[in-house]
């Protein structure tokens, strides 16, 4: 490695000095707005090969002709794309001068989540030496993966080190023409994660971005590509339960999963971006395109717990191309205060005997709006395809909204499609029952909501599930009314 952790730490320290003097074009920050020049600048900064620059420019040209989608059940003031800075490096700057400056409310939340002090300081960027602490963990982790031939690195690194893989698979599941935000991402993405599991290898540990956060942090336009070669298996964890304050309002990520014959990918997400304040001011717009493709006998399983962001627009989907392939979507989406979420999945059945399962649990509190939007599409050649969908909505208040938009398109009459949906309000009688047994209201809501989401939480890796449970409780504090 040319660039050591120590050097990174030094850079981070130096960054403080530079703060406020970095707005020149030649420095590490591009001027606001988007043009072909800016894209060339980004690509040059990252020393990318010509083919990738061409891809970016192509995406940019397509994007310019596109309109922002308006069909989702969300209302917000559209971001001004001219006011965004599309390149600023490195991202991992100190957000606070010292630990004492960190918002006490945020500290309290992290404490409740059971995050260690060291981890808290790392997350708020108040500890610089965190980099040193995590080196040993990350190193032994990498060594083990290397032995198995597993590639797990930042997207930029993959472009340099494994261009043939990136070139072969990038954009094959989510083409740049797919939608407005995917096109934007394809033009301006700055970094992300890349993962390749060789044929027949079962990845022995959960791959988590946690282990490589020091290599770049999460970006505004993140790009993730996971390729599971034949007969391989990987479980990938994205995100983190800790509250993430971010001055970037717009997040437009793209995630592509490729499961070749007999491979399996489990992709779990916990999303807790800043949701805005109690009056609905601020908060992240999370417009994500996530999609996977399954070849023969392959399986892709999406599990997500979404509690953050002011506006969420997200449909992790599966293209069941190969015969006997399986797609799963397990989701919990919580909205509180003025949050809005329009989320769900698409299951596209192309192959024979393909099977998909959708379990969606929406929880609306405060004055929030929570929508499930899903498509089950059985194509003409998908003999004996099966789908089971269950969409439940739980209302915590009478000012919040729950909506379900299920679309079913079936072109093969040998298929079986089941759809179940329920909407319920959290029972005052349930809360009273808990209280009468000595459990206070906050814990009671936690119990009831976690019970309601159990089917989904059970799909998360153990450690993640425990954190997600706590996160649900915290997200819904004082939310009944």
């Amino acid at each position: 490695m040319g660039y050591t952790e120590k050097e990174l730490a030094e850079d981070l320290k130096e960054q403080e000095y530079k703060f406020g003097f970095t707005s020149e074009f030649e420095s590490d920050r591009a001027p606001n707005g988007l043009s072909e020049d800016i894209i060339r600048f980004i690509s040059a900064k990252k020393e990318e090969p010509q083919w990738l620059l061409d891809k970016r420019l192509e995406a940019y040209r397509v994007w310019r002709e596109m309109k922002e989608p308006e069909w989702a059940h969300v209302h917000y003031e559209k971001p001004s794309f001219e006011d965004i800075c599309y390149y600023s490096a490195p991202k991992q700057t100190k957000k606070y001068e010292s630990w004492d400056d960190v918002d006490p409310e945020m500290k309290e939340t992290m404490k409740k989540l059971g995050i260690s002090l060291e981890e808290q300081q790392r997350l708020t960027g108040t500890a610089v030496d965190f980099v040193m602490d995590s080196v040993s963990v990350a190193t032994s982790f990498k060594k083990k993966l290397n032995e198995l031939g597993i590639i797990f690195c930042s997207f930029s690194e993959a472009v340099q080190e494994h261009p043939e893989l990136v070139k072969k698979y990038m954009g094959t599941v989510v083409p740049h023409t797919d939608n407005f935000y995917a096109a934007l991402n394809s033009a301006v993405f700055t970094d992300g994660s890349f993962c390749y599991i060789p044929k027949g290898v079962r990845c022995p540990m959960e791959l988590s971005t946690y282990f490589r956060i020091n290599e770049g942090g999460t970006g505004q336009f993140e790009r993730t590509l996971v390729v599971a070669d034949k007969e391989s298996y990987v479980s990938y964890l994205e995100g983190c339960t800790a509250p993430m304050r971010d001055e970037n309002q717009l997040h437009a990520a793209v995630v592509e999963l490729i499961a070749l014959d007999d491979a399996e990918i489990k992709y779990s997400t916990v999303q807790n971006w800043y949701p805005g304040d109690k009056d609905g001011k601020g908060g992240v717009f999370n417009f994500v395109t996530k999609r996977g493709i399954c070849e023969r006998n392959a399986k892709i399983s999406w599990t997500q717990v979404e509690t953050g962001s002011a506006v969420t627009w997200k449909y992790p989907s599966c293209i069941l191309k190969g015969d006997n392939s399986v797609g799963e979507f397990y989701s919990v989406a919580v909205t509180n205060n003025y949050q809005q979420a329009d989320t769900g999945t698409k299951m596209i059945h192309l192959g024979k005997n393909t099977n998909s399962t959708i379990i969606s649990k929406g929880i609306s509190a405060g004055q929030s709006q929570n929508s499930y939007r899903g498509l089950v599409q059985i194509n003409a050649k998908a003999e004996n395809a099966r789908n089971f969908s269950q969409c439940d909505s739980l209302l915590m208040t009478d000012r919040s909204g729950a909506h379900t938009f299920p679309y079913i398109e079936c072109k093969n009459n040998s298929s079986k499609i089941e759809h179940e949906a329920t909407t319920s309000k959290i029972g005052e009688d349930q809360i009273f029952y808990c209280k009468q047994r000595g459990i206070d209201e906050e814990k009671a809501i936690g119990l009831i909501v976690n019970g309601y989401c159990k089917e989904v939480l059970n799909k998360l890796p153990m450690e993640f599930a425990v954190e997600a449970q706590k996160l649900l409780e915290i997200s819904l504090e004082n939310s009944v009314g």
């Binding site: 029972g427 029952y433 459990i439 989401c453």
Partner: protein
Amino acid sequence: MLSIKNLHASVEEGAEILKGLNLEVHPGEVHAIMGPNGAGKSTLASVLAGKDGYEVTEGSVDFDGKDLMELETEDRAKEGLFLAFQYPVEIPGVSNINFLKTALNEIREYKGEEALSAKEFMSKVREASKVVELDPKLASRSVNTGFSGGEKKRNEIFQMAMLNPKLAILDETDSGLDIDALRIVSDGVNKLRSKDNAVIIITHYQRLLDYIQPDFVHVLADGKIVKTGPKELALELEDKGYDWIAEEKETV
């Protein structure tokens, strides 16, 4: 242990239901409260337990030296007040075990006791399920979810055995039980009786009192206790109904 003096309560912004109720309960005692429909029996249980939707307008309730009405619902439970619900509530996805463990540890924490270890807790579960002959499988199922009427009532007494309250109020625990289930539930309550705790049984029927012998029978009518007597009073009520008490009162 429990001292209710001149208790008046109404439904929020509505009619007065309890109109000056007095009741004294001492450790070791079992009190039966009987009375016609609409007399205020279930309201009394709800007000004591702290259910929302009721307003206490007058009177006082002392529970072991504490002003019960000043306590939060959950703190009343932690002080040792237990209500066996007439209609036990279903909580899907939350196992009985997890529910009770949370409850028990909350109560222990309140009392300054350490949380139970998994092993201690499970042995308590085994003991308590024997009390009401509860199928241990029910203990790991979701709280009351898909339970039969009888199983729900048994589960209430199972919870009572787990939480070991000072005062248990059984709100029409006999309703909807067949003879066998009634016997099992009553046996359970009898096993849990001790010189240190007390039970208030709210019921329509004398039937339950054949199994759980009360020390006192009270007649609740129109928001007040209008007559108190020994267990034989229940038989008399079964025989003659409630009207004669009202008449007796008028002649007095």
